[in-house]
Symmetry: C4
Subunit: 261 residues, 4 copies
């Protein structure tokens, strides 16, 4: 009986949708903090200037976080039996284990406790960050998420067209510069895929400067591509601005019509 | 009789405006996919790291796609007789052959089957991408296309003015830096056309770093040009955002007034 | 009598505000074209790759354009007597000569016919471009110009604040990097004015790459400055978008209220 | 009695909220100008090309500005007794001394008169710029400030989400390039913190060019990160544009409902 009450309490703490108050439950807030600190630790660990001489500290941190997240996993496994539905507890638990989030949790735990199974632990540990998004999907944050997703979705055809226009421009620019500069700079423009690297970095207005045209004709075409880069940024920004504006307007009008509408 | 029924069926499949359901007909979906794959293959073929040792494969792919698109061309030529109008079939077919899209198709086919006629096959093969735009000009995609075109067209004077302002700024900045830096860096700022390359790359905030001022006065003017670059991006973005917003607003109001309006 | 009728006719052609039809008068259209061609010629003349061996051609072009614009100037001087008002013709003409546009015209003519008076002819010849703006200030172009100017003016305090925020960020970032990187890269960050060059190029997201921090602390601060650069672009763009949107909305509402409003 | 009248007069001049007319009081306008000139002088002083041979001039300027701001500080201290409230004058003055602005003023004065106390005088002198913001927080400027703050605040969840999305993208991109390029360019991508420098400079589309991928896989991932950089700029810009638009719309509707609303 007491175990059931404890399980219920823990379930309310662990499942964001069950927490009655707004915001995160204390336990989930602690877990989010632990994820952030563990991520910062995993990032810092790779930098020799920080990690040299502190290998033991980072190893202990990793084990500590691993134990903490393992305990959390067992807690979720145990309390999964509290989920709604008439199925027997073991089926609810299996459902949790086989859910995408359950599998990701298990995979990340493996990078700590079964390092021989995975070669790129850093990449996998980042998956923990997705958990923050999942846990924080609550209240006002969730509303904001839906606002952005709705605005993007409502204009998805226009955004897709803009992306298609950008992609076409990219391929056309890369082909033109392959043709104009390929012979002069074969290592940089000697093939269309190589020229595509230049086209992406130019159209996004990043401009590293590792690749740029040197012939007058190449510079002329590159100028046109760079100028079109303004459209590639201005069009989606304008479309998104209008979509957000429209969503706010509709919300205001719905409010003005009152609750009976 | 059977040939006529087949020709009718093929025509419905090939002409996007005849397809009764929304979206692409199965045949046109196949053609779009073939165009994308053929383009990727044409792009990859130019990269030695990919193509070396696979010349035969790429040659066979090119011939394969060529035969496929030749068959499509013949199909469109044959079914062109089904087009609306009282003219004799041969005039309808001539109309297709002499239409811009028919001529582009023929030109692209020539790069495969008459390579001795064209020197830059890669450029011409890209023209196939236009066909995707033509085939996909349908339903919701077509509505989105019209939305963007309408928004741009409704504010074309403002956008032209912004472009004029940007062009003026470009020429003024280039002339100033030609005057200030021409003697110090003659290969980079030794003429206004050379300085224009710098001005384009700066005003679009690309900033490759192959050309930049080195004198204090040059840096001061370049700073002003770079700061104006923000306006050159912010103005058209703002104008487009307002145009898209206005179009959505008008659409909503038209809907609110009801169908009789 | 005939001279008067001719003068009147020429005046209607030359003064944009007198032209009864929309658009430019044929003579002003010719003048605009001549200004554009003369500017392109003046730009091209500075490039040795274009001008070498064609010095005589460019000299003749410059003299030709000079004579054309001198004739235009004399025409405007002659027809100035047709301007509204009761003053004697010589006062109207003096008014034209001493007007900003009259003085600019005279200054530009001096670069051709009195080259010994001016040292940087290229800069001065660009002033001709202002004339295009003046001549084209007509009809729909003029409306669009007023739209942009109104939108910018209506939010000038917000835009000034954003500029102030950007300037403060620039000075703060430059001071921080002067302090953090000054000793390591004295030629690049050895003074706040030098660091300001870096700050401008970073905040505008141009990023030439001639100056960048190399110490971890410098990179951390530079990262923050670069991230704030997004706000420096997003804020004015958002403000302008809202201003344009508001202007369109007001225009639509004024129209909806009807002509009696 | 006369001292009281003078103190009252000075208080009205010094405290922006007491000045009856719009804009700055003459004394505060002088102080703002002095702050700007002192800041420019402090910036110019660090540049050897400007300061060499003028050390005495800059030292005298610094002492002069120091005396001016010391006199202002004493004036504010003296007139603080005029502040509202029933507390004794010494408590009102202590309140001024211990207020953030009073402490900053004192700190900046220390850089001039007690240089042995502070090591980085330049940084501290910049704090004077905050005073301009405080003094100018008036009338229309204050309204504009509140407009921007309100718009940002009303969409703070959406902006925070976008920042979170950008941060996640940054860490993911840095980890991917650490993994793909770490072995090839250990000094540039040899740790995630090093790769984060690349990620920030790429996502903000700055692109110095000191760090960029060289392997095909690295370039592919970097291309995706650079393309996502467009979203990282477009999303907050669109959100801010809609927020500003919504604020203007609400202001117009409130006005339309009239003063009784």
């Amino acid at each position: 009986m007491m175990a059931h009450a404890l399980r219920r309490k823990l379930y309310v703490q662990l499942d964001p949708s069950r927490w009655p108050a707004s915001g995160l439950s204390p336990l989930n807030a602690l877990i989010c903090t632990a994820i952030l600190v563990a991520t910062i630790s995993a990032v810092a660990e790779t930098e020799p200037l920080i990690a040299r001489g502190r290998e033991a500290l980072f190893a202990r941190l990793e084990i500590g976080f691993g134990l903490f997240f393992a305990a959390e996993y067992l807690g979720r496994l145990w309390t999964a039996a509290e989920a709604d539905g008439a199925r027997p507890p073991w089926r609810k638990r299996l459902r949790f284990v086989l859910s995408p989030s359950g599998l990701i949790d298990l995979l990340v735990l493996a990078t700590t406790f079964a390092p021989f199974l995975t070669s790129n632990a850093q990449m996998l540990r980042l998956l923990r960050l997705f958990r923050i998004a999942r846990l924080a999907k609550l209240g006002r944050m969730s509303t904001a998420m839906r606002h952005i997703a709705d605005a993007v979705a409502s204009r998805r055809m226009e955004l897709a067209l803009t992306a298609g226009f950008g992609a076409g421009l990219m391929v056309a620019g890369a082909t033109a510069l392959y043709w104009l500069e390929g012979a002069v700079q074969p290592d940089k423009f000697g093939s269309i895929p190589r020229a595509l690297w230049w086209a992406v970095i130019t159209l996004t207005t990043t401009g590293y400067g590792d690749v740029y045209p040197v012939t007058p004709a190449g510079k002329l075409v590159a100028s046109l591509v760079a100028i079109c880069g303004i459209a590639v940024i201005a069009l989606p920004t304008g479309i998104l601005a209008a979509a957000f504006s429209d969503a706010l307007q509709r919300a205001r009008e719905a409010k003005a019509r009152g609750p009976e509408a």
